[in-house]
Subunit: 234 residues, 2 copies
C-alpha cells in the first residue's frame, strides 16, 4: 500500500485542507442549528402537551448531538494533519514585508541588528500577519520594527508569557503607532469579533509564538509579534 | 488609507486564512454546543416547573443563536476573501502528478492527447486531489488517465451536469481500478463522513469543476475529476 501519511501531506498544506472544508463545516452546522433553533422556538408553546414536548426535546437533543459529532470529526481530522516545518531565511521575511508596504513614508519598516537566522514560518505568513495588523490599526502611518533576540527580560507582560518562549530565540515585529483612544484590549482581541485579527492570533499560535498589545500613555500603541526562530526549540 | 482588499489578499490564500481560523471556529462552537447539550439534558426534568423550564428554554435559545451568529460571521468573512486565479501550464499538473506517484507500475499515470493549455487551479492541487482519491480507493494498483476536451457528450451522467460545464474546455482526470464491491456511491460521497474525500469535492467546487464516480459491471471503478481550463469561462 501507499504511504498514507506522506501522501496526505503532499501537495496541500493542512491549513489549505481545513480551509477547503470550512464551507462544508459551516453548511452542515447551519443545517443542524436551523433544526435546533426551530425546535427551541416551539418549546414553550408545547410545554403543556407532554407528548409533543418529548418530541421537540428529542429533536433538540439529536441535532445538538449531530452538531457535536460533526465538530469532533473535523477536530480529529485537523489533528491528523501533519505540519511540515521548513527553515526559511529571516531576511526573506523582511523583503516580503517591504514588498507589501503600500506607501513607504506612511508605514516605515526598519530593522534593528542582524537578521541572519532561520525561521520555520513561511516568510509570506510573517508579512501577512504584520500587514493584517497594520490594516486593523486603522491608521495610515506608523512604524514596523523588526529585530531578533530573546524575550525582553524586563518586560511587564513577561509573567503571562510561557516559560518555553523566554528560553528561545525569537523574531520580534513591533508595530508602533499613535492615535487617540485604545484600539483594542487583549480581552477584545481574544474574542472572535474581529476575524481579520483572529487570523493573526491563530497563525501565531500554530507556530507557538506570542502576540502582545499595549496602549501606552500619550496615545501610543504597541503591537508585538514574537515568532520562534528555527532550531531554537527546547 | 491602505488599499484594504489588495492587502488582505496579499501573502495568504483564502483557504489558508479559513484553515487557520477553523481551530477557533471549532473551539467556540464546541463551547456553545456544550451549553446547549447540557440544557437539553435537563429539559425533561424541569418540565413540571414552569419557571425553571423558561430559564432552560432561554439558555437553549441563546446558545443556539450565538452559534448561528458565529457561523454567519465566518461565512461572511469567507465571502469577503478574494480568490486570485492565475493561469498555470496544464503540463505542470502532469509533472506534479507523476512526482507524487509512490510506486510506478502499481498506479500508472498516462496522458491522452495534447495537454498544451492553461488551468486556473494550482497544479499541486490537481495532483493532491487525484492522489487523495487514489488513497481513498484503498487499492494498490490502477490507472490515472489525463486528457483535455469537452464534457463527454454521450455520457449517461450528463443530465446531472450543470449546462455551463458542458460548454467549457476541461481537464479530465480519470481514475480506473478494479476491486470487488462498490467503493462508495455518490450519496455517500456527499456526506461529511469521509473528510479526506470531502476535501477533493470542496476543492473541485471552489473552481467550479465536477466529480463523478461510477461502479461498473466486472468490479470496475471509475472516478472522474473534471476541472475547467483557464480562459474557457462563459
Amino acid at each position: 500500500m501507499i504511504d498514507r501519511d506522506k501522501k496526505q501531506a503532499a501537495g496541500l498544506e493542512p491549513m489549505e485542507m481545513m480551509g477547503a472544508l470550512t464551507v462544508r463545516l459551516i453548511h452542515d452546522l447551519t443545517n443542524q442549528l436551523t433544526v435546533l433553533a426551530g425546535n427551541a422556538q416551539v418549546l414553550e408553546m408545547v410545554r403543556n402537551n407532554p407528548e409533543r414536548l418529548a418530541k421537540v426535546v428529542d429533536r433538540i437533543r439529536n441535532s445538538s448531538a449531530a452538531a457535536g459529532e460533526l465538530l469532533d470529526r473535523f477536530s480529529q481530522y485537523r489533528q491528523q494533519l501533519v505540519y511540515r516545518t521548513k527553515p526559511h531565511p529571516l531576511e526573506q521575511c523582511l523583503r516580503e514585508l517591504e514588498a507589501l508596504n503600500p506607501s513607504p513614508g506612511q508605514w516605515r519598516v526598519s530593522t534593528i541588528g542582524d537578521l541572519g537566522a532561520l525561521i520555520a514560518l513561511e516568510p509570506r505568513w510573517v508579512a501577512f500577519a504584520v500587514w493584517q495588523t497594520v490594516l486593523q490599526s486603522g491608521v495610515g502611518a506608523g512604524e514596523v520594527r523588526v529585530s531578533r533576540g530573546g524575550f525582553p527580560a524586563d518586560w511587564s507582560a513577561a509573567g503571562h508569557v510561557p516559560a518555553r518562549l523566554k528560553q528561545r530565540q525569537l523574531l520580534r515585529c513591533e508595530l508602533a503607532w499613535s492615535s487617540p483612544g485604545p484600539w483594542l484590549d487583549e480581552h477584545e482581541a481574544a474574542k472572535p469579533m474581529n476575524l481579520h485579527l483572529a487570523v493573526v492570533y491563530e497563525l501565531t499560535k500554530i507556530v507557538d509564538g506570542w502576540v502582545h498589545y499595549q496602549f501606552l500613555p500619550g496615545d501610543q500603541h504597541r503591537f508585538n509579534l514574537f515568532l520562534p526562530l528555527f532550531g531554537s526549540e527546547n
